[in-house]
């Protein structure tokens, strides 16, 4: 029981207090431990990614297995996951890609079959056979084709042109378009919420309108509006921000202290 409950809180206390007082000790030894601890957090975070990928994989396979709504798209997720992983660990050695496309397709088909084994226990043997065959074919291509290779030892995968092309031409367009949706959403949110319903909403509305009009040259007194909006940003906005920042600072400090002292335990679960 103590191992489950007491030791974690003891660890929190020890490391918390150390980091707290480390700040006041400029000596090399304290700095040294500090740097170590920060590196550790980073490394643990990367190792934990395995948990995340496993969760993503399991949830996707589970969706396919139980035929939840939109289960077909889980194949797309898994395909993206594996194809990008393959690219991250392969690179071409010669001038051409050789049988690389064939390999990628065979490998994907093999994975598809193997997922079917998990998802459709009824026809397990058939899919297992096909999956195994495709996997064997992929492995054979990988061994026999010398124009490209697997790299587990060198970060060549990151320079792999396929890895970069898929990042630039598949991930980036989706990413920047998702980001660009904000332009639309900011418009619809403004339309929906900026109604002078009461005093607070009116203040929100008027302040936003003035600032949005700040560079409209068609407006009479445009220069004046620009000045007012600058002033709004620099005076009331600054005051409000400062009040929030001080509040948040206090909240963070109090919560961190509660965590270190073991008063706040909600994040650790029970039992």
């Amino acid at each position: 029981m103590a191992m489950k409950r007491q030791i974690p809180f003891a660890l929190v206390f020890i490391f918390g207090i150390f980091m707290l007082f480390q700040y006041f000790v400029p000596h090399e030894s304290s700095e040294w431990v500090y740097e170590f601890l920060l590196d550790w957090i980073y490394i643990i975070g990367i190792l934990a990614l395995a948990l995340g990928i496993w969760s993503l994989f399991r949830v996707s396979v589970d969706k396919i297995k139980t035929k939840k709504p939109n289960w077909v798209y889980s194949y797309v997720t898994l395909m993206g996951l594996f194809i990008m992983t393959v690219f991250g660990f392969t690179a071409k050695t010669g001038d051409s890609w050789g049988l690389y496309p064939v390999f990628v397709i065979t490998f994907m088909l093999a994975l598809f079959m193997l997922i079917q084994v998990l998802a459709k226990p009824a026809s397990r043997n058939l899919y297992g056979l096909f999956g195994g065959a495709f996997l064997l074919a992929a492995v054979l291509i990988a061994i026999l084709d010398r124009t490209w290779g697997f790299y587990f030892m060198e970060a060549k995968g990151l320079q792999n042109s396929m890895f970069r092309i898929f990042f630039d031409d598949v991930m980036m367009p989706i990413l920047s378009t998702m980001f660009a949706l904000l332009a639309f959403f900011i418009a619809s949110a403004a339309y929906r919420a900026f109604r002078a319903r009461n005093l607070l909403a009116s203040l929100l509305l008027i302040a936003a309108l003035i600032v949005m009009l700040r560079f409209n040259p068609y407006l009479p007194y445009a220069a004046y509006v620009a000045k007012v909006s600058n002033w709004l940003m620099n005076v009331p906005n600054l005051a409000g921000q400062r009040a929030i920042v001080i509040g948040i600072g206090l909240g963070i400090v109090a919560t961190a202290l509660k965590v270190i002292l073991g008063i706040e335990r909600g994040y650790m679960g029970k039992g």
Partner: protein
């Protein structure tokens, strides 16, 4: 009536801004170039001491300006600092300082392997040259030293922070122990948190799940830790009402913690059997892919309530607007100042900044947590008192007061 009041209030603010004007830019200083042959006066009173408040590997050299610094025909353009292991030399140049400067920190790397390694505990001697525009026209100071570098165990420049740390600890411990003794503490109602219970009830009636979004924070962010506490409460209610909860996560460690929290909340509610392991899952560690997935969940699962707690960045509005379209009740709380406006606009209830941290105490209703809330309030009172004192000091020109708040880097 209130609208008119608001407009009047704004009008007053705007009138204040009429006069708002900016001062003019300054003009560049002329550079002087002198061409002389007789050397300038050397810098005097050269001293070399270990740099205070550091980890060692550094010595600070100070001097008094050459009398030819700051104009005249033999004007000093910069000072060059030399170092040697013995008072007789040979001296190597270790750096320069521009005219007008009287201090130079000669430091180096702490790693022995580094080329730039600066040893601790070995004696060094220093000399400072005053140099004119013509590099060969210079004069050397007396030799200062010996001095050796060593690391300190306490940084005196950070005393204000230590005082604040101790003060805050004492306040918290005091109020927590008072709360433990059973003193009643008042907490003002928080709109967003009051709404949580109703929202869960509504979800049960509609037979729809609750979506709990923890944002992009990691377990290292205090906002996320506060969000876990709220999650624990929500999950417990969800378990009691037999509704579903969906928690998509962005960080694998956050996922692990969230699983622990939700699982033990179900245990607490006495229904560990109804806990589904897949209710807390990892999506991806990419901001917009995460948003895309959560947006999809909102439109497909149609949760009755969306709760956003933790750290949010540009995705705040993408999430909250999609949630509004899906017709969910939305409750949010973040300490990312830039995102609060978007949540305010698009959500039904928003916990503004510090309110997120108060929420965990408010939800638990445990006396110890409420006690720390009291300490937080005293912190704010202290800010106000110190600010007023500081303003008085600033107006009377008591710079010593401002210096009390100077923290060394």
């Amino acid at each position: 009536m209130k609208v008119i009041l608001g407009i009047v209030f704004l009008a007053v603010l705007l009138t204040c801004s009429v006069a708002f004007a900016q001062t003019d830019a300054m003009t560049p200083a002329d550079s002087t170039a002198a061409d002389t042959l007789s050397p300038p006066a050397p810098p005097t009173d050269v001293k070399a001491v270990d740099t205070p408040n550091d980890h060692g590997h550094s010595i600070t050299v100070t001097w008094k300006l050459s009398t030819d610094d700051g104009g005249g025909a033999k004007s000093v353009s910069h000072y060059e600092i030399f170092r040697s292991a013995s008072p007789t030399g040979p001296f190597d140049s270790v750096g320069t300082a521009v005219a007008g400067q009287t201090i130079f920190v000669n430091g180096g790397d702490k790693e022995k392997q580094s080329e730039d390694y600066f040893p601790d505990d070995s004696n060094f001697y220093y000399r400072v040259d005053a140099v004119t525009m013509n590099d060969s026209v210079r004069s050397s100071s007396e030799i200062a030293g010996p001095a050796h570098a060593y690391g300190q165990w306490y940084n005196t420049g950070r005393t204000p922070v230590l005082v604040a740390v101790l003060l805050f600890m004492i306040l918290t411990i005091y109020f927590v122990s008072r709360a433990r003794k059973g003193q009643e503490l008042y907490v003002r109602p928080l709109g967003g948190i009051e709404a949580v219970d109703d929202a869960i009830g509504r979800a049960t009636e509609m037979g729809r799940p609750i979506l709990y979004v923890l944002g992009l924070g990691t377990a290292a962010d205090v906002a996320t830790i506060a969000a876990f506490t709220v999650l624990g409460r929500v999950a417990k209610r969800v378990a009691e009402y037999q509704t579903d909860i969906i928690v998509p996560t962005y960080d694998p460690i956050v996922m692990t913690v969230a699983q622990e929290v939700v699982q033990s909340a179900y245990l607490d509610a006495g229904r560990p059997d109804t806990y589904k392991e897949d209710s807390v899952f990892f999506v991806t560690q990419s901001q917009f892919a995460y948003v895309a997935a959560v947006n999809g969940i909102m439109l497909r699962e149609l949760p009755a309530t969306n709760v956003y707690m933790g750290k949010f960045y540009a995705e705040s509005l993408l999430l909250a607007e999609t949630g509004a379209v899906a017709g969910s009740i939305q409750i949010s709380g973040t300490d990312e100042i830039a995102q609060i406006p978007f949540f305010i606009v698009a959500c039904d209830y928003t916990l503004i900044g510090e309110e997120l941290y108060a929420a965990s105490a408010y939800l638990g209703r445990e006396p110890v947590l409420l006690g720390s809330l009291k300490a937080q309030d005293w912190g704010k009172a202290l800010v106000i008192i110190l600010a007023i004192a500081g303003i008085v000091a600033a107006n009377f020109g008591w710079t010593w007061f401002t210096h009390l708040f100077k923290v060394a880097n």
